[in-house]
Symmetry: C2
Subunit: 395 residues, 2 copies
């Protein structure tokens, strides 16, 4: 028996990162490659208590099919959480998703036709490229710098016919950069004038080390922005609960697409999340995550300053989980990775994060799950390799 | 701000059934419209114990991101469960999905291009039509009778260029019918010769009232059948855990599509399912579900015999959750539903289950969640309405 794959399936490839992660699961490897939150931040006891309470009070509903839109009290929590500083979000604008990755899948399905233009930052989140690619768009990379996408470069030539621009304004995966407030205002204005919908993906927004959060794009253009959030980085990713906030007419289409995709996000998990957070738990819990990640980030930055050669450049993130490293132009980070793995250190090469022209002299480091003494050891080894690579004559 | 929906989104509509269910949620309505399993069958204490054990033994893994393929011990359990009677299923052929609905979404994505032919039974499961419709296929209805699809009607004219045939051989939703063993053999042979992949969707197979189960299509053509299963009807649907068994090459594409769809099915839920069933629990639990549903089905059939007029016909299911009713040709069940709801009784009209020419004189009854005394009351009311409708002169 042979079968015919769809055209979109023929273009599908496995995430390069997932393949790397398999190699780096050996315990002797110091891996800066992961994108996982630290399990030290999972509120295990609270989740255990939530499970017990839910199964004691209303097990029939928690274990039964539920509405596609999501568990109403959780949708209400989200709507209320966002209804601050003059912004009003209605429960009818909130859809609970199976992780925010599903939000990307659903948005791709309802907004993208084969060949239609999708704008992305340079570089951008790989999982978004994968999700949208199933609808076979034409990706257009918006010129970006160390502060993120450059709004003034959103020319009509780029925006013409674009279905949306995908943005990750806070502590972006992979670069860790945050879009400054001035650019946020400019971006929402330029996109609004060009009639380009903005998708604002915000899994890391709460993880600002100083606690200072910038206003969302959503708050700047209520009808021109779709916002995606997640409980993966502030509670636990293994529950797979995220959400989309969108204008009602768009949300209704997303609900229809979700119904066909998985009927609804697990009833039990939505209740676990709601039961865990409804009394304001996140307001005490998130500062602990910020403190941990900020301290881990500081340790890595210190080690990098000590061990990396002068030709290597990196950003100093103010939040999130990642540091982005730029090597001299002649150093290919995927070749560097092979040598690093031979020395039991791993990272993620930057090339897969570029929708179009990959910058092979870039790489992503994650600092959140590695103990500090291993951060020091791993960065020292990487520094040694980098000094050798940088010293080689460009070929 | 306006935006452009994709072509597939423009064709999307909400499930007619979901809309009906909203109306019938009023407590005074006796609803035979639901497709929900009975919450009386949910093993609450066992699930509670599983949650406690998992969060005590390995919370970091249970709450963390996990592999897209699924939790290995659960995949092994599935592979082992199916490796009987000479059939061998390898763990590399098993993908855990977010409910079996997600299996349909992923299979549509990797196998269907716009305009390509997809064969379905007449009638068929509405959720499958919705999932596949996002890939914009041309649905072809395979002639079917009270025993299911008629294999001899799978002519070259029908199968030419078809990407697959979607089958629900056991106690089909909506008809409750089961494909006899002779037809299973004939179907796998005819489809194999025509080079048509069979998708075997099997959420209800275990719910045979007598306990007698027929061999799967998978066991009859190992390389020509993709099998989908679910824990929704034998454990609890609110956990959203299902699986796909497919030849490895196809499975790898499904894994890539799933990675883009939701990264993976919740780690926690996969462990809850595995922890609940690994010691053979289903072998003692499923007979209780069978007994309950068999008894409920019997009560509804008895009431129908007593109250329905002679012009109305229905099947007598040997398992599952549904009875399929055929009215005289001039009676439209959606008009009947309006009158029934006015009397606080509900059911699902049959028309939405037809991919092409709807038979409006059909309807689906579910008996599993309604107490027996209400089954009697509801069927009596429906019988009264039916006698009036059948007596009306065809217009």
């Amino acid at each position: 028996m042979t079968w015919t794959f769809s055209q979109r399936a023929q273009k599908l490839t496995s995430s390069a990162i997932r393949e790397i992660l398999k190699v780096t699961e050996r315990p002797e490897v110091i891996s800066f490659a992961g994108g996982l939150p630290s399990p030290a931040t999972f509120p295990v006891e609270r989740i255990r208590q939530a499970c017990t309470d839910i199964l004691a009070s209303n097990p029939a509903a928690a274990l039964q099919y539920g509405p596609t839109e999501g568990y109403l009290p959780l949708r209400e929590w989200v709507a209320e959480r966002y209804s601050v500083d003059g912004l009003r979000v209605s429960v009818d604008e909130v859809l609970i998703t199976t992780g925010s990755q599903q939000g990307l899948d659903l948005l791709g399905k309802v907004l993208v036709d084969a060949g239609s233009r999708v704008l992305v930052e340079t570089p951008t989140y790989l999982g978004a490229l994968q999700a949208f690619s199933l609808s076979e768009p034409q990706f257009v990379s918006v010129p970006s710098d160390d502060e993120g996408a450059i709004p003034s470069r959103l020319t009509r030539e780029l925006t013409d016919g674009a279905r949306f621009m995908y943005c990750l304004p806070n502590f972006q995966n992979p670069t860790g950069r945050r879009l400054p407030i001035g650019r946020r205002r400019e971006l929402t204005q330029v996109a609004g004038e060009a009639g380009v919908l903005l998708l604002e993906d915000d899994p890391y927004g709460a993880l600002s080390y100083s606690g200072e959060q910038l206003p969302t794009l959503l708050s700047m253009n209520r009808q021109g922005v779709v916002h995606m959030g997640s409980f993966s980085k502030v509670l636990a990713p293994g529950l797979r609960v995220g959400y989309v906030i969108a204008p009602e007419k768009l949300l209704r289409k997303l609900v229809q697409a979700k119904q066909a995709a998985d009927l609804h996000t697990p009833s039990f998990n939505q209740r676990i999340v709601h039961e865990s957070i409804r009394d304001g738990f996140l307001d005490e819990h998130i500062p602990k995550i910020r403190a941990l990640y900020g301290s881990q980030c500081g340790a890595m930055l210190d080690a990098m300053k000590q061990h990396f050669p002068a030709e290597v450049h990196w950003n100093e993130p103010q939040g999130g989980m990642f540091i982005w490293v730029k090597l001299p132009a002649h150093v290919d980070s995927s070749l560097l990775l092979e040598k690093a793995i031979a020395q039991n250190v791993a990272f993620v090469p930057g090339a897969p994060f570029f929708a179009n022209e990959p910058q092979v002299n870039t790489l992503r480091l994650s600092f959140v799950t590695v103990p500090k003494e291993k951060i020091e050891t791993g960065i020292a080894k990487l520094g040694q390799l980098l000094r050798m690579e940088c010293a080689r004559t460009p070929q």
